[in-house]
């Protein structure tokens, strides 16, 4: 493997919650510009893996490297590394007491010390990118779920991240709002942003993923291109999972 292209490297990652083993020896390499979609049944450890990558969960064992910087056990650099990883949550987690514009500028200003006017220009650029610039002065509660999630994506993009993590970004949305969010994500994928996406949207996986990772019981069961994975999955468990979700 060419070291310069490795964006994320996960080495033998284990995570336990009490007695429950959420991640059981996960190894994963994500190269620059890759779009990785992680799928699997609930409780398979997909979200935990994502949350370990930016250290929202502290791994029990193993190492995580972001661009040749070790993130595990690196408390001092943690905030700096995190500021380069954009995260989009299932429940948006916008800051309800701040306007859309303030949501997108706050971290720029206090983490990266960017002056207000410049931060606002950056924010407006990204809000336009997700098609919601006209709501800049609104509060999150005044927006629909789909609009809120697009703001959350703009907020993450405004960090100028090297990596974007998406943790089931459409699972909390009403069906008619899923498309607007997926469209934004598809655009980002085409622009060559490194993305790791946990989702149940198989259509998105087919259209955007360079590789699909199937997880179950805290392990990576299968890793393949979407063409291969969806047409001829190699493992029994992948087949069982796919037949369950695709049979409707």
């Amino acid at each position: 493997m060419n070291a310069t292209h490795e964006m994320i490297q996960v080495i033998n990652l284990r995570k336990k919650f009490g007695r429950l083993v959420a991640l059981d020896g996960v190894n994963l390499t994500v190269r620059r510009g890759q779009v990785i979609v992680i799928i699997g049944p609930s409780g398979s450890g997909k979200s935990t893996l994502l949350r370990c990558i930016n250290h929202l969960e502290t791994p029990t064992e193993g190492e995580i490297w972001i661009e040749r910087q070790k993130i595990t056990g690196n408390q001092r650099q943690l905030n700096a590394i995190r500021s380069q990883i954009g995260m989009v949550f299932q429940h948006f987690n916008l800051y309800p007491h701040l306007t859309v514009l303030e949501n997108v500028t706050l971290a720029q200003r206090i983490v990266r010390k960017i002056p207000k006017s410049q931060a606002e220009a950056i924010a407006m650029h990204h809000l336009e990118r997700v098609g919601i610039a006209d709501k800049a002065r609104f509060y999150p509660a005044q927006l629909s779920g789909g609009q809120q999630q697009r703001v959350a994506i703009a907020r993450a993009l405004a960090q100028d991240p090297k990596i974007m993590l998406f943790d089931e970004p459409t699972s909390a949305l009403d069906p008619e709002m899923i498309k607007e969010v997926l469209d934004v994500m598809l655009n980002l994928a085409e622009e060559g942003i490194t993305m790791v996406v946990v989702t149940h949207e198989m259509g998105f996986a087919r259209a955007a993923a360079d590789e699909v990772i199937f997880m179950d019981y805290g392990k990576i069961i299968e890793r393949a291109t979407p063409e291969v994975f969806f047409s001829q999955p190699a493992h029994e468990r992948s087949r069982a999972f796919l037949s369950q979700i695709l049979s409707h």
Binding site: N54, L56, N79, A80, I81, R82, S83, Q84, I85, M87, F89, H91, N93, L94, Y95, P96, H97, L106, A107, I110, V111, R112, Y139, P140, A141, Q142, R155, A156, Q159
Partner: protein, 295 residues
Amino acid sequence: MAVKETIEAKQQIASPQLTGAEIREKIRLFPWWTVGLIGVFVLTAHLILTRPSYQDAFNFIRAGVGVTVQTTLVAYGIALVLGLFTGLGRISHNIVIQNLGTLYVELIRGIPMLVLIFFIAFVGVPAGVGLLNQIGEWFSQIGLQLIAQPLIQLENSSVPMTTRAIIALSVTYGAFQAEIFRAGIQSIGRGQMEAARAQGMTYWQAMRFIILPQAIRNVLPALGNDFVSMLKDSSLVSVLAVRDITQIAKLYAGRSFQYQEAYVTLAVLYLMMTVVLSALVKWIERRVRQDERNA
């Protein structure tokens, strides 16, 4: 905006002529108790204006209002700071800080306020002065005379009772407010802290910019109610001979033997202050709710 529109819509629907049922409903919802309250104020005002004995009592006792208000305001300000930091300490991951915070809260909650006021004034403050003297000695030994001298010269008897009263009130209320702040912070969903940390903010940046602004807004009514409670509890400092309205009323009653005049005036003065403050708290509460609706 939305609220105004609904009100207008309602007004349009309501016919100018009220039906019997509507009138009964209005009578049922009318806050009659305020009439009673106003009656008490008017009656007292009448007594003060027409009876010289009440007038004397009122003129004498109202001189203490300043001390009561000032003691409450200063103690409340200190209690807010003390409460905020103790509240933050109670949820700290540092077990020493967390346990110290909890110990403080539990100690205060387990002792009657009157006893605490005696204890802090006559045991706590002298012990604190002793400690400062000791620290002064240490500074003196390592040659820092500039800091040492004022500490060594500090005497227990030079700490006025008003100061002791303020310390006692703020230490007591600091513990109550710590619980308010803690509950407020814990009422904010985990996702907020996670989102902030994921953006690279430090714990304290996330607290300062994301968690506390939301938490404090949620606890504003509770903090306001505490201010009203504190104003009433400030009457307890009269046991330290601080010349607040309670103490002055007591002095007046003892000297003139006009107990009825003294204590009616005293009670009505407290009532007036708390009614005004409660209205203010309710107004703030309504404003906050309205903001939430608009947000």
